[in-house]
């Protein structure tokens, strides 16, 4: 089975759960054997894991015919694409895009990530998708998140193949209800054109049905999973402060993640006991407000903001923690608690998180219920048995949530859609 996937990020250059999920899902899928995946991203860096799928860098696919020789292509974008592939794509240029802002290879540049001119980049991405769809052979199209829906629709129209869109988040999650009409329009359009919609949780599925008016039969749930930790991460020695407990929040400090509830719960805990420290790792638009709030509550001596973390730092921080907390107001799935559980950290999550649907060996509270949250933190820090239980059983539970199982479900879904 050949799948053409459109994505926006891919490890190691990721800014959120989308990249992690894309990686895990494709890797699990390829392990079935007879699967070939072409994964398009706007701007590969060349250090992506190419071993099990083909990464297509959209910034090196020409949309304007340029007469360049092989060694020049090699020297310019050789890290990302082979010259013969470049020529193959060049043979499928389908219109006159010379009015667009293209470079010496006839390609469009991408800033990568989520820049100011995101909407322009989304549009460019979908123009290039037209070339890719004409040049490649595939059985089904899979678009990850709204950024790539236009590309998916385009590819569907060019090739006549079925389109599956994967909803990793909706704008309702990101904005606590104040949706951006442009984003909503792109999302809805993608879902309307899709032959099937895959959501990362039942929670998201309900949003898609209710807010995007999709027929329930067309929408299914496919929970995320986690990739097993590599040995060098498993080997990280946990750095624990003696006689102190560390409670960690790790994620973007934005409205969606409910950071203020964490601060309030921390303030309640600290009124009763002093040997607990709190850590809010990450950055985001609410970071300064949170620092102010912490100061107002008078707990700044026990509440720390180490800033944005990546790669190994994340795991070092998790391993040093005694409690992981994710008080998200609205979380389509939320892979981070699963990663914390992999690191043997007892976890508290909000009931409004998609991952709450598949996790049992963790504490679930409402995101607004700071009393329950504070109680749970206190309980884990003070009762060794609860700590041990959640640590051991949580690890066991999360070790059973694998991408292979998820990919198997996806396979069945594809077959149903294609039939």
């Amino acid at each position: 089975m050949k799948v053409l996937m459109f994505g926006w990020e891919f490890p190691p250059h990721i800014s959120g759960g989308l990249g992690t999920a894309s990686y895990g899902l494709t890797k699990g899928f390829v392990e079935q054997g007879d699967v070939e995946i072409k994964f398009c991203i706007p701007k590969p860096y060349g250090d992506e894991d190419n071993s099990f799928l083909r990464i297509v860098g959209m910034n090196s696919v020409p949309i304007v015919w340029k007469d360049v020789d092989s060694s020049y292509v090699e020297s310019r974008v050789g890290k990302i694409i082979r010259p013969d592939e470049y020529y193959h794509y060049r043979n499928h240029v389908y219109g006159d895009f010379s009015y667009m802002n293209t470079n010496d290879l006839g390609c469009m540049e991408f800033a990568g990530g989520y820049p100011q001119n995101l909407h322009e980049e989304i549009n460019n991405y979908s123009i290039i998708a037209g070339v890719v769809a004409r040049a490649e052979e595939f059985d089904i199209i899979h678009s990850h998140d709204w950024l790539t829906y236009p590309a998916g629709i385009h590819a569907k129209q060019v090739s006549g193949k079925k389109l599956v869109v994967h909803v990793h988040a909706t704008d309702f999650d990101r904005s606590r209800g104040n949706v951006n009409p442009t984003v909503y329009a792109i999302e809805k359009n993608g879902m309307d054109h899709a032959d099937h919609i895959v959501c990362v949780s039942e929670l998201t599925r309900r949003t898609v049905i209710e807010k995007y008016h999709q027929h329930p039969d067309k929408v299914s749930t496919l929970h995320n999973a986690v990739t097993p930790l590599s040995q060098d991460i498993l080997d990280i020695e946990p750095k624990k402060i003696p006689n102190e407990k560390l409670v960690t929040f790790l994620g973007r400090i934005t409205m969606q993640k409910g950071p203020e509830y964490f601060v309030e719960a921390a303030a309640m805990v600290l009124r009763k006991t002093r040997n607990i420290r709190f850590c809010m790792a990450g950055s985001g638009d609410m970071m300064n407000d949170m620092i102010k709030l912490v100061a107002q509550r008078g707990i700044a001596d026990r509440f720390h903001f180490p800033g944005f973390m990546r790669g190994r730092q994340v795991y070092e921080c998790l391993k040093a923690s005694d409690v992981y907390i994710m008080p998200s107001v609205s979380e389509p799935f939320g892979i981070s608690p699963l990663e914390a559980m992999q690191c043997d950290v007892p976890t508290i999550i909000s009931k409004q998180s998609g991952c709450a649907e598949i996790l049992d060996k963790c504490i679930k509270t409402d995101y607004w219920d700071i009393n329950a949250m504070a109680d749970a933190i206190y309980s884990i820090c003070n009762n060794e048995s609860l700590y041990e239980y959640l640590k051991v059983e949580g690890r066991r539970e999360v070790d059973n949530i694998t991408w292979e199982k998820v990919a198997l479900k996806l396979r069945n879904l594809y077959e149903k859609v294609m039939a």
């Binding site: 309640m268 805990v269 009124r271 009763k272 504490i363 679930k364 009393n371 329950a372 504070a374 109680d375 749970a376 206190y378 309980s379 003070n382 009762n383 060794e384 048995s385 609860l386 041990e388 239980y389 959640l390 059983e393």
Partner: protein
């Protein structure tokens, strides 16, 4: 001749309220009065009153032929006294017929038999006193909370003077043996064991109104025929269940009470009698000892203590609770002792179960086992602080006992000395009077 032994359990726990850790040290009241009142009122109305009324009717119609055994936990009695005294009146009326035996059990409906022989003995004695006080009976047969039994517990029961104990006819203990005989404790042969026939008991308490069950609808004729057609030498049929089987587990609309009422009449036709546990213990001989090295109970598929003490959370809560047992027994703070009873109730531990056996466990106000554990540990934290306030931690139990003895001895001495002073004063006064008279 076959005989049926009916036994029903009455117990209501005192439900704990939502108690956050910041209440520790400031709030010493642990109960949700509203939840307790509504729960007990509901159970009384839907189950206890109609079921006990039916039993009373059956006894009266049977003219001495129908007999039944009941047990009410001490905590349950307190709850009934508070919120449903009509149930106690009914119990007294049933008691007057002379066809009802009351069994003893640990007062708190707790797991003290697995933690502390001293606490267990104290609780059972207290329960005996309470039964004597209310019903004028001296219990001869013991049933432990959840029908928990082991050789060790059997020994304790025997040493307290009990003639028999109820337990579960669990497959892993009986193997090829039948529960329809009387057995005895392997380490204390004087203590006889009545084992529950879980198939016949659960047919009523679990399956009666289930339309998916093969035997549905179950008629009393069929049921009594099952008993009548048992092999000839299997004479004792022990049917034990919670009284809430009637009206709560099985709704009254399923006509379960009519089913129950039909049993004595049909049994009589087939020559089957009814006996109370102590009658069985008296009249029948044990067929042999039963070895039970590990606790056995009537709970869950495993029939062991795992629904209360199966995971580390439950065990920590249990260990912490009983770590202050001795101190509580030394204390004579009434409020503290009452809380001690309520906190011991086995239900509190069952709410923390993490078993995944397809049955969704009843968790009261709690959303998850962790929630139940956290709430309980918060309350226990406050309770233990109160115990510590009375008896500081740095003094060990023995020393504490000795000090307490000294104080008690001194008190006795003071009383004696005071009496002496009084008498001396009186003597002196009479002397003074006499001398005054003489002077006159």
């Amino acid at each position: 001749m076959k005989t049926i032994c009916f036994y029903f359990e009455i117990h209501q726990l005192r439900q704990l309220k939502r108690y956050r850790f910041f209440d520790i040290g400031s709030d010493h009241y642990y109960y949700d009065d509203y939840a307790n009142e509504s729960a007990v009122t509901e159970v009384a109305e839907k189950s206890y009153v109609p079921a006990l009324t039916a039993l009373l009717e059956m006894i009266k119609e049977g003219e001495g032929a129908f007999k039944v055994a009941l047990s009410v936990s001490g905590v349950g009695l307190e709850m009934l006294e508070l919120y449903a005294p009509q149930v106690i009146e009914l119990l007294k009326e049933i008691n007057k017929t002379g066809c009802c035996e009351f069994l003893s059990e640990p007062y708190s409906h707790g797991l003290s038999s697995l933690a502390s022989p001293a606490v267990f003995a104290e609780e059972v004695k207290r329960m005996n006193r309470k039964i004597k006080e209310l019903f004028g009976q001296k219990p001869k047969v013991l049933r432990n909370s959840g029908l928990i039994y082991s050789d060790e517990i059997g020994e304790m029961a025997a040493s307290m003077g009990f003639k028999g104990m109820l337990s579960e006819g669990a497959k892993h203990i009986l193997a090829w043996k039948s529960p329809h005989f009387l057995y005895n404790c392997s380490t204390a042969p004087g203590l006889k064991l009545l084992l529950r026939d879980y198939k016949l008991s659960d047919d009523i308490s679990l399956r009666f109104s289930n339309p998916d069950w093969d035997e549905y609808p179950l008629f009393a004729e069929t049921y009594v025929d099952w008993i009548a057609t048992l092999p000839k030498d299997e004479q004792i049929v022990n049917i034990f269940m919670n009284l809430t089987a009637f009206g709560i587990a099985q709704p009254l609309s399923s006509n379960i009470l009519e089913f129950l009422k039909a049993i004595p009449v049909l049994a009589k036709e087939r020559g089957i009698t009814f006996s109370t546990p102590s009658e069985i213990v008296e009249k029948h001989k044990s067929v042999g000892p039963l070895e039970v090295p590990y606790p056995l109970s009537w709970m869950d598929e495993e029939r062991d203590a795992s629904s209360w003490l199966g995971n580390t959370l439950q065990r920590e809560a249990f260990d912490k609770l009983y770590s202050v047992a001795e101190r509580v027994s030394l204390s004579d703070d009434k409020k503290l002792k009452q809380d001690w009873d309520y906190l011991q109730a086995a239900d509190n531990f069952r709410f923390m179960t993490t078993k995944q056996n397809g049955i969704i466990p009843e968790r009261c106000i709690y959303e998850s086992p962790y929630d139940a554990f956290t709430n309980y540990m918060n309350i226990l934290g406050d309770f233990m602080a109160r115990v510590r306030a009375q008896y500081p931690e740095d003094i060990d139990n023995e020393e504490l006992g000795a000090l307490k003895q000294v104080i008690e001895n001194q008190e006795v001495e003071i009383v004696q000395l005071e009496a002496e002073i009084e008498s001396l004063k009186a003597k002196a006064a009479t002397k003074a009077k006499r001398s005054a008279k003489k002077e006159e």
